[in-house]
Structure formats: C-alpha cells, structure tokens
Symmetry: C2
Subunit: 193 residues, 2 copies
C-alpha cells in the first residue's frame, strides 16, 4: 500500500512495516495465505506438572518448519493447589497469552499507523472461584469470572491516539477474541492409532 | 470425606488425594477460601517480542508469596509473522494453557476417583485466519475458528471410564471454560499513577 508519503523508516517499533504492508497486499490478492494452523503437544509428568512442546505450524500457504528446536513449556500448580510449583499454572499461561497478544496487536497496529512506541507495560488480574473446578457449586463458573488489564504506554502520540490504539489492540487481538467470545473446542480420546 | 473404604495410597497420580479431599471439605465449610486471583505482568521488548513475569497470587484466604523467583515467559512471533522467533506466539501460549488445564483436570479428578493413570498425551490444533488480525475482512473472526484436542491415555481403567474421565476434564477445566465461553475482559490505559 504505497502512498504519496515518503517513509523515513521501514522498521517502526521493531516491526518491518514495509513487509507488513506487503503481507496485507498479498493476503488481499490471495486469502488462502492468511490461513494458519498452530499446534501444541503436551505430555503429563506427574500431578499438576505437564510439559508442552511447540514447534511446527502451517501458514502462509505451507508447512513452516523453520524452528530448529521446539519451545518447551512446563506447567504445574503451586503448593497450595497440591502441585510442585515447577512452572506457572494453566490459568497463568492464559494471562500470558492475553498479555502478549494485546501488546503485539498494539505494537504492530501502532507501527502500521506510524506511531513510534517507547514502552509498553501491562498488568493483568483474573478472578477465579475454585468451587467450579472442585465441582462444589454449579452456580460459579470454572474459569475466570472476569479479567482486568491495565496498560502503561510511553509513545510519541497524544493521549487520544493512545486511547484509540488500546481500543484497536482489543479489536484486533486474536487472544482477546478467544477469551471474550466462545471458541468451539472438540476433545477426542484416541487410544488406538 | 472419609468413607468406609480404606485407602492404601494417599497419593494417586502424584496428587495427594487426602489433601484434595481436605481442601474440598474446607471449601464446603468456608467458600471464601476458594476465591483466587492470578496475575501477570508483561513488558514489551521489541516488535512481536514481549516478556511476562508471573509470581504472587491471592488464594486460600490470603496473599501467596511462596514463589521465591518469578516465572519468566518470552513471547514472540515467528519470522513469517515478522517476529524474531524468540518464544512461542500468544496463540501458541493459549494452546499451552488449554492443554495443561485439561490434562491437570483429568489427572486430579482421576485421582479423586481412584483411577491410577500411567500416561497422558495430547495434541492440539487451532485454525486461525490472519485476515481478522490484519483488519482485511470483518467476516472472519480474529481468534481461533476452532480448536481440536486429541488425547491418548494409558490407565488402569476401562475404555468407558476413560471416556467419562475425558468428559469430566472438559466439564471441570477452567481454561476449557474460558475458551469455550465468554469472559468479560476490561482493558484500561493508566498512564498517570
């Protein structure tokens, strides 16, 4: 999307906006390259401790095998939830996903608008009533009752521009959408294969 | 919840079921100890790279400061999504959260039912159309269109018991609930504090 404006920088906020606009143009011409499939493999270790391995994914029209080694993520429960506290617990991983996604959305879309960002910090809190998981009450949900996100941003922008950018981050973030709206999840047991 | 049955093992699947039943009894008497608040702090690094720090949480009636050091989690985007691929991306962290939570729910509730589990493996896949994030089409959602989870379980149980256990894991898992149903998320910008 070339405009009459001359861009001094092709990299803004660490995002190559020239590549970003090129990607947008390519997707507009051929929607199938926007189709991605991400994957995770998990192995239980003991009790609340399990390990996820993340590596290849499908996207941009083909299988992406560029990662030489997998990312390994240990999940566990803290002592008070009868775990050995080797890693964050799954609902803490969920906050990590949400924080990372809102931040990246903010930074990428800020870059696309030419807003130079210096610092972004966020604090997230989620309220969870364990009576759901324990099966003690059907009146409380199992997951977070609500999540609060607070951003602090330092950027070359007006307060109104920053407010709009935070709005845009929510409007575009995949994980914000996943948490805010229902996603169909199918769970199968396949012991014979 | 003592029954007439004599338990040979108080630890099943690495879960101290005596403690688990004690916790259930305590929560039944005093619901407030089931109230938890988990937290995450995120700092942007550059482009798609940001870092989440996880440590203290509130739960079981007080602030839990037992973790001596925080868990540090790097999120990034792969090269094809203009990142530097230093860590999994946020939607991969989301699959990690879901895998870990379903597995722990399965293992804990299996332990509570006296089902000895030997192995649990799961594979997760999520379909995502990038046209949502890029703002190219309002007809596709930003997040996963759907997620598929496949379990392989080795346990001292019948096929029917395992099928019920996989059902129970979905019924009780907090992250499964969060992904399957809407969670209210508030996002604020607080630059002056």
């Amino acid at each position: 999307m070339k405009t009459a404006t001359v861009r001094k920088e092709t990299v803004i906020n660490g995002v190559n906006v020239e590549e970003l606009f090129k990607t947008i143009d390519e997707v507009k011409k051929k929607a199938t390259i926007a189709k991605f499939r991400f994957r995770a493999d998990n192995t239980w270790v003991s009790g609340g401790h399990n390990r996820t391995s993340i590596r290849d994914f499908y996207g941009a029209g083909g299988e992406d095998t560029s990662r030489k080694t997998p990312f390994i993520l240990d999940a566990d429960e803290p002592r008070v939830l009868l775990g050995t506290d080797i890693g964050p617990n799954p609902v803490e991983y969920l906050l990590t996903a949400l924080a990372g996604c809102l931040t990246s959305s903010l930074v990428y879309h800020g870059a696309a608008r030419g807003i130079a960002i210096e610092e972004v910090e966020s604090h997230l809190e989620g309220d969870l009533d364990l009576r759901g998981f324990l099966g003690i009450s059907e009146d409380v949900r199992n997951g977070y009752e609500n999540i609060r996100v607070t951003f602090k941003i330092k950027a070359d922008a007006t307060a109104e521009q920053l407010r709009q950018l935070v709005q845009l981050a929510q409007k575009r973030s995949p994980v914000f959408d996943i948490v805010s709206h229902p996603v169909p999840v199918s769970v199968d047991l396949k012991n014979d294969s």
